[in-house]
Symmetry: C2
Subunit: 368 residues, 2 copies
Amino acid sequence: MKVGILGGGQLGRMLALAGYPLGLRFRFLDPKGDAPARPLGEFVRARFDDLDAVAAFVEGLDVVTWEFENVPISTARFLAERVVVRPGPAALEQAQDRLTEKKAFQALGIPRAPCRAVDSRQDLLRARTELRLPAVLKTRRMGYDGKGQRVLATSADVEEAWEALGGTPLLLEGLVPFERELSIVGVRGRSGETRFYPLVENDHEEGILVRTRAPAEDVPAGLQKLAEGYLRRLLEAVDYVGVMALELFQVGEELLANEMAPRVHNSGHWTQEGARTSQFENHLRAVLGLPLGETEAVGWTAMVNLIGRVPSASAVLRVPGAHLHLYDKAPRKGRKVGHVNVRASDVREGEQRLRALTRVVMPDGVTM
Amino acid sequence: MKVGILGGGQLGRMLALAGYPLGLRFRFLDPKGDAPARPLGEFVRARFDDLDAVAAFVEGLDVVTWEFENVPISTARFLAERVVVRPGPAALEQAQDRLTEKKAFQALGIPRAPCRAVDSRQDLLRARTELRLPAVLKTRRMGYDGKGQRVLATSADVEEAWEALGGTPLLLEGLVPFERELSIVGVRGRSGETRFYPLVENDHEEGILVRTRAPAEDVPAGLQKLAEGYLRRLLEAVDYVGVMALELFQVGEELLANEMAPRVHNSGHWTQEGARTSQFENHLRAVLGLPLGETEAVGWTAMVNLIGRVPSASAVLRVPGAHLHLYDKAPRKGRKVGHVNVRASDVREGEQRLRALTRVVMPDGVTM
């Protein structure tokens, strides 16, 4: 079986590494020549909207999936006419526009922060009054890792944010006080079978995920089931097949949905060594119509992103329980070049190991 | 860093899959065009004794290792003059000849079955008298998976075995009654640091490993340390760097060495999901001079080889805890085309899962 992957980034790379043991081969489509997945299969270098290249790409593939959700929807539909595409274009479409996503949360009864569409300065002024500050102005499309966002703390920030982002479809979202950021990764198979990984706790800095602790500690009774219920609604609403992640804010015993990702997700990387089956293997099992794997955690795991620089492999691997995952990317400020999973028997041992690891990967006194 | 691997079989394939996360790239040398490792790196198709091809192969590599120990020793030496080769040619040389190997066991005080070199019919007759029957006549070179062996149960078998194998250097080995076959996999780093996986129990059929249970049950006190001591002597004797496996016969509270393998080994495949660090990752860590990873088992794991046919992936993955590892090889009688690791919390749950798996992978009533 040959699997086509739209996007040749680190997610595609890790999907392929998880897929070879299942007897699969891979072909990637990516506009960048130095894509991290390149050494791991056939590689078609082309823009996602180059339909001639897409037609050539699809030749001989058994199934297509994606690791990057901002593929043009026209390309997804073009592919779906020619080959099995999982998840299907509907999930892609929903996730590409933050407004559609927020509307889906509302339609499915999933609590979220209040928000308003902003297409003009007038919209912004009205939304600012309705929602009160602080709030976040976000582009509706193509945002990731905190890009395309401005926090409006006071009225003085409004004009500057409009100058920076105005002219493209936007969204103003109320900043709700929350205790912490959690996320849940789930997978749905072709038969409708679903499995969910435990809730994990995430730390972001400047909009970029820096650290995941899995499973999250001190989760109130019922919160796991609540999160699974929300994610299940999202999966079933679009007859989704594959892995989906849902980012959440915890407010006491409640959860507010923040963002969904219709693909394997950075906050699920801990599953590579930390769960009985990784999110990458489970995504492929789902896409191929195979039975899903167990999602229970094995001990306790912390995932630490390597951002902007590659640390010494020796120093990382000297930390007991540490596993290195490099993406073969040239380091650049703010760029994710890899991650480390550090596994331990329990949270106590894990936090010790995480402290040791943090000294190695963030030597410049970055807070933890 | 680019790693060269002599041999492009399933061991090379699994080394590469374990090595990409460490940021490595791979180049393989193999005479077969359809080698399982081929999609996972650059590939040089050439005979191992084609030194022009070997010279081209080594260009730009940082280190060379092997997944196949029957590379000509002249090739290993040729390489060692041009690049770092780990483990070094000495280990290769020792393992290529069963007689040298048996002598090494003796020199290092590692108990083994009695044996005699056989270079003529007269040698065979003398050895047969000295050792008594039953005994096994084996070729000294190039044997694997039970190939090149004949059991001599009675005097009537002697002549037939000589007809079949005579004319090449042989060895007659006394068949010692033993309780079970165990093996131990260990790894030695550049600094001399060693780590050992737990003893595992192996079942062979017609000379081919069919099943490993890890860790072995009911291991008498002291037996793990005894096995580690034997393997440590072998590792240190040749200043070995990398993973080595030692096959053993258990006789009460004693161990007899059977065979060593200077590479990652089939009886270590369970470590992929069943140990904190896989033998493949630890071999690469050693070869690259990186700190070694933890070797403790995670729960209980059975490894079942897929021999001669590829079972239904759905049926395999429906068994809880099952992980499929296919080698992308065309099925052929007696050929290993993959394996399945089935992981469980404990031996009781594991044996249940193993029975379920066995029904799937050996549907023709093969014994278990």
